[in-house]
Symmetry: C2
Subunit: 474 residues, 2 copies
């Protein structure tokens, strides 16, 4: 979304209370007062219109968009870009390619591309063909999804080294269509990126100073193939307002602004948290995701985990005779295995996040293993003591566990140390393994780790039981 | 961290390979070549120096900082600000307040405040007293932590409505110390925020145009008491480069830049993911958090969850006679309760994230409940069918479950529907409840939901069993 356009175009928001605003909009829709409606919406920022649209029914949303698109097409499209997802796609569905192309042409290229992405591929192809600025769109679409090239704006403000500061300012004054003018990129005569300066510095020097004298020679830049999450990381860690994009030969081909980097951060985090929670990442916001898609994306993982968890039934069946002899063993099964799952969940979320923000890299696995080994032992020991006390207290109060209570207590305590240690190690090492094989570390989700630890935890528990209780209860 | 300073001050990074760079730095440290070292570091950006420092031992880090601080104090402090956390605090520990004050004075106020925050309160108090820019620091520190007032930079570039565009540009040319000059805020004679314009627009109009004619009258602004996470949300959703901060009387008192908003987003996400994973949020990165702190922050929750999970042992003991009569019941306990935990984890992470990004608000709870009711039923039904098939197949292949296998299968299947439905509802509604009572929704973490569902899941399972198996196995 264009930084300056947004800033320039919008007058006061009507109200800061979305619910009241939504009621007004819906009333105007129902009453059939399109002029009032368009005037009200023109006073809102596009993200505010999108917020209102998000809380409407699909039918109202379509109705509203139809009204605005005929009277203020640019405003309607800006709101549609902010809305995003399948709700936005739905608004364009019944229009012909020519109309959509005409709506897209005035948008900044990165916004136009983000809308094209929402359309079914054959439709997107036809719309692209009908667009006037299709050479810009093509320059973006030729790059792979999830790369810098795919999110950049190919209209970038660049000048030569020999241009003077005064000429540069004059050029900026004529550059109404360019999104980002805070940084001025400096290229040689073949378009190679050689330096960067800022509008501020241009104003600080005498007008006849050549750009070569006010530019910084080395520029932090992204390659067209740089992954978008890496782009976001660079923008964030270098505190940049924009990042230039170059091709293989260091030719400046586009620019990515900080607002788009923030969108990448937000979307990546959402996907990561959904994976961490044990489901496939959604493409749309929760509320606008069709129920069927929601069930499918959760169901797949849930069934997969269920298959894994079935091994617990197999493992339990293997120890059926032991359980029959000492039913008391079964009582502590949920307690023991869930403690492993909980400690695994803690370790996994710590490491997955540390990997995501770059605090930890794959090469740190050994140092992490050492820390987690100690943490796991300490945490396991704490739970072992608490567990032993619990059994002792119940035994003294109710005589719950019979004469062999101390052996039972030791079985539970030792199992807790083993299971918590194992949970901690599995939870901390699986994300590294995922990253190593090129998968998203968050795939080793909390439920995944818990399932793994449940199955192995049972083996640990019953093995330890057979040692401590052999000859007495077993 | 100052946006433009950073951009202006730094020449080419020496290398893009952190490991090689770190080796060079460490070698220069060991060899004792301070001049080489300072020259090398001056070619790096502060975040690059901080990256290198992060991977060093604490001793090397202190040694490095001592060398740089004497020769390039501003460079050393910029890197320290980027480093942050207890590692940064450690670097200042043995200096006297006067020295620290002298190091802090040249920094932008928001950076100086972020360093003061790292020091023990009495020490911070003394350093503040010794600072020359202490009135700016006080203007920030008078606001509560986690508010806009506490993160703003009080040096903000503002001009009067009657100022002309030409005068404004001239004023900008003299404003070397101001961080953010892309937006120019317009105030009345008592400092009230009345409008905003941009450097770009100032250059587009004739020099004698008064600001009143080129400004946008309504400004999206934060109040000093606005929470920082809300600040970040506003900056992100309005695609702003900076957000002005006003007091109760709409007086402009500071500005927050987009880079600091990104830091808030990143830190909030980290805390949220750690809470979601079932531990207290860490104050420092994983690697620099002392092991003891790590164990304490995990241990507290782990013990709390363990106490909750102990109720499973109580519940199981309540059904001990049933288990003794039908050991086969025990076999499916982990399978049934973990399916509830998994579906609860999915629902909780979906809703917690949707609440965090504002896709869903507390008032949506009823619509969410309806969606989750349907999802839970559908997912439970799927697992019920898979579970029933599993039991049928095992029965036909191994005769595992005896003549009453169909009743056992129905018990497991119906329990799965109940437990998955319950897990989904608990996982989706608890975050709303947390938010409603003013707690962080992520407190209803995956392990918390799993524990809750484990205990209630056992009750569901054994209740259903007593219905289906009464008179046969029980």
């Amino acid at each position: 979304m264009a930084l300056l356009d947004r800033f320039k175009r919008y007058a006061p928001p009507d109200t800061r209370v979305p619910a009241a605003r939504l009621r007004t909009i819906t009333r105007l829709l129902r009453v059939g007062a399109p002029d009032h409606l368009v005037r009200l919406l023109a006073r809102l920022r596009p993200n505010e219109v999108a917020d209102a649209m998000r809380t409407m029914t699909a039918r109202d949303r379509r109705h509203l968009f139809d009204i605005v698109a005929t009277r203020d097409p640019r405003g309607a499209m800006d709101a549609l870009v902010e809305l995003g997802g399948s709700a936005a796609a739905d608004l364009l569905r019944e229009r012909d390619p020519g109309t959509i192309a005409a709506l897209l042409d005035p948008l900044p290229t990165d916004d136009a591309v983000s809308v094209l992405k929402l359309l079914p591929p054959p439709m997107a192809q036809r719309v692209r063909g009908a667009m006037q600025q299709h050479q810009y769109v093509d320059a973006v679409l030729e790059h792979a999804p999830q790369t810098a090239g795919r999110m950049m704006n190919p209209s970038v403000f660049a000048l030569r080294e020999t241009t003077t500061a005064g000429e540069a300012v004059a050029a900026l004054q004529r550059s109404a269509g360019v999104e980002m003018i805070f940084y001025v990129y400096v290229t040689d005569d073949r378009g190679h990126l050689n330096g960067v300066t800022s509008l501020r510095r241009l104003l600080m020097v005498t007008p006849d100073t050549p750009l070569a004298h006010v530019m910084t020679g080395d520029v932090v830049a992204a390659h067209v193939d740089t992954r978008q999450e890496e782009v976001a990381r660079i923008v964030a860690s270098y505190n940049l307002l924009a990042l230039p994009v170059v091709d293989d030969r260091n030719k400046l081909v586009g620019v990515i602004t900080v607002d788009d980097a923030i969108d990448v951060i937000t979307d990546d985090t959402t996907r990561e948290m959904q994976r961490l929670g044990g489901l496939e990442a959604l493409d749309d916001p929760y509320m606008t995701t069709p129920l069927w898609t929601l069930i499918r994306k959760r169901g797949r993982w849930l069934v997969l985990l269920f298959f894994g968890e079935m091994l617990t039934a197999t493992a339990m069946a293997y120890y059926e005779d032991e359980i029959a002899k000492a039913v008391v063993l079964a009582l502590f099964v949920p307690l023991v295995i869930s403690s492993g799952g909980n400690s695994g969940s803690q370790a996994a979320s710590l490491i997955i996040r540390a990997l995501a923000v770059g605090e930890v890299t794959v090469s740190d696995w050994w140092r992490v293993l050492q820390r987690e080994l100690l943490s796991g032992l300490a945490l396991g020991a704490v739970l072992a003591i608490v567990g032993l006390l619990r059994i002792k207290v119940w035994q003294q109060a109710f005589g719950s566990y019979g004469p062999e209570w101390i052996r039972i207590g030791l079985t539970v305590s030792c199992s807790l140390v083993g299971v918590v240690l194992w949970g901690t190690l599995a939870g901390s090492m699986l994300p590294f393994l995922m990253k190593r094989v090129g998968a998203d570390p968050a795939t080793s989700s909390t439920p995944f780790v818990a399932t793994l630890v449940d199955v192995t935890g049972l083996l640990i528990y019953f093995s330890i039981a057979s040692v401590f209780l052999r000859g007495t209860l077993l």
